[in-house]
Subunit: 234 residues, 2 copies
């Protein structure tokens, strides 16, 4: 059994790829260089895929039609900070990004007759992106059933897990969390302030574990932020 | 009103873009350099878009995950010749190509708040590609409705027209057919043998017109081929 795994180098997609491996799939990893500021995650994806022992890893450099609209791809828009319970779509949203990435994954899947495409989409502790919702994947599966010459299943194993559960699952699967990168900023170290940093820290905190990707000092800084801002965190 | 028009430089997508203009849309043309052998169509797309008077024209260079599977992108597979009534999927099929191209078009559409995306997909005189069927576009529209932050309509105005009707429509809209390119081969002149050349010639023939993109000699050659092979053509 073969599976294409979208691996961004982040925590969610890494846990998803480890889960696919657990299920017995040979992993064909696919990573995109789409001009994201946080390019460090591409190096992380390469290291993590190697540790996981993937069959093949492709890194596709793609150009988005309009990269000026998202804080992930332009410096003229700021990455939002410190609001993990937002309800509106944040400025990090790249229109149809997951659709673009998935269509490439599906193209490769049909070409090598892979059985599945795994994506670490998550509808709970997420940033409000529309293409992370279960309904999106239900309709996409119908599109794939019509468009593909071979049966391909879209797999979203962590779509309904919260960050604490994703990290718990990853721990059981020996995911090398210290090699993953979640921060949306393009700095050398995680900014400890963006949504992605805070969501990740919250997950480790609720799991009674420190994030092994952070130094002790960084961990203290971010947990203090969490405790200060969100009285619900215990 | 704004519309993204996928313009390949071929006959179908050119007629579709002219139709979009007729309907009053400002046209944002999108063309892909995906390593196709018939790169001449990219030059044609540029000329045709200019004649049409598009608001903006973007040419995106993209890398397909596995270009070795299609006769359109590799020299190790031959472009099929002389069978326009085939029922199986031909070797020119690029897995999920339209899905990749459309996801880029949709990304741009959402970014600039375009009202529609036009694609010259055709389900009649076509080459058997699954992503040219109406059902594919019905499901894609549902996916867009879920994934997009702005309403975007996928428009396939010529999906149920035959080649003769497409050419008839194009004539009424003053489409510069002589600037369009349909041949799948990467030669200086149309090969006059591939499915795409034959379908196009059949359309002009049934319209009692010669293809203005061909020399008189080329037109005679290809109509002789059509008459020799397909007794149904009158």
């Amino acid at each position: 059994m073969k599976a294409i795994c979208l691996m961004s180098g982040g925590l969610d997609s890494t846990v998803t790829a480890y889960f696919a491996k657990l299920l017995g799939y040979k992993i064909y990893a696919l990573t995109f260089d789409y001009g994201q500021k946080h390019r460090k995650e591409i190096d992380c994806a390469m290291r993590v895929a190697k540790i996981l022992g993937v069959k093949e890893h492709r890194i596709l450099k793609i150009e988005l039609p309009d990269s000026s609209v998202s804080a992930l791809t332009t410096n003229t828009i700021n990455v939002p900070e410190g609001n993990i319970y937002r309800t509106e779509i944040p400025s990090t949203y790249v229109p149809f990004r997951n659709t673009i990435l998935l269509s490439y994954a599906l193209s490769w899947a049909e070409a090598i007759k892979a059985d599945a495409v795994f994506i670490g989409a998550n509808a709970l502790d997420y940033s409000g992106y529309r293409d992370c919702r279960p309904m999106y994947y239900e309709i996409l599966q119908r599109l794939v059933d019509v468009a593909s010459g071979v049966p391909i299943e879209i797999k979203t194993p962590i779509i309904k897990l919260n960050k604490r559960e994703i990290i718990e699952l990853g721990s059981r699967l020996d995911v090398p969390f210290e090699e993953t990168w979640s921060c949306y900023q393009g700095n050398e170290r995680p900014c400890l302030r963006c949504d992605s940093c805070l969501l990740r820290a919250k997950g480790f905190y609720e799991n009674d574990a420190a994030d092994p990707a952070l130094t002790e000092k960084e961990w203290k800084t971010i947990t203090a932020q969490l405790l200060g801002r969100y009285s619900k965190v215990e």
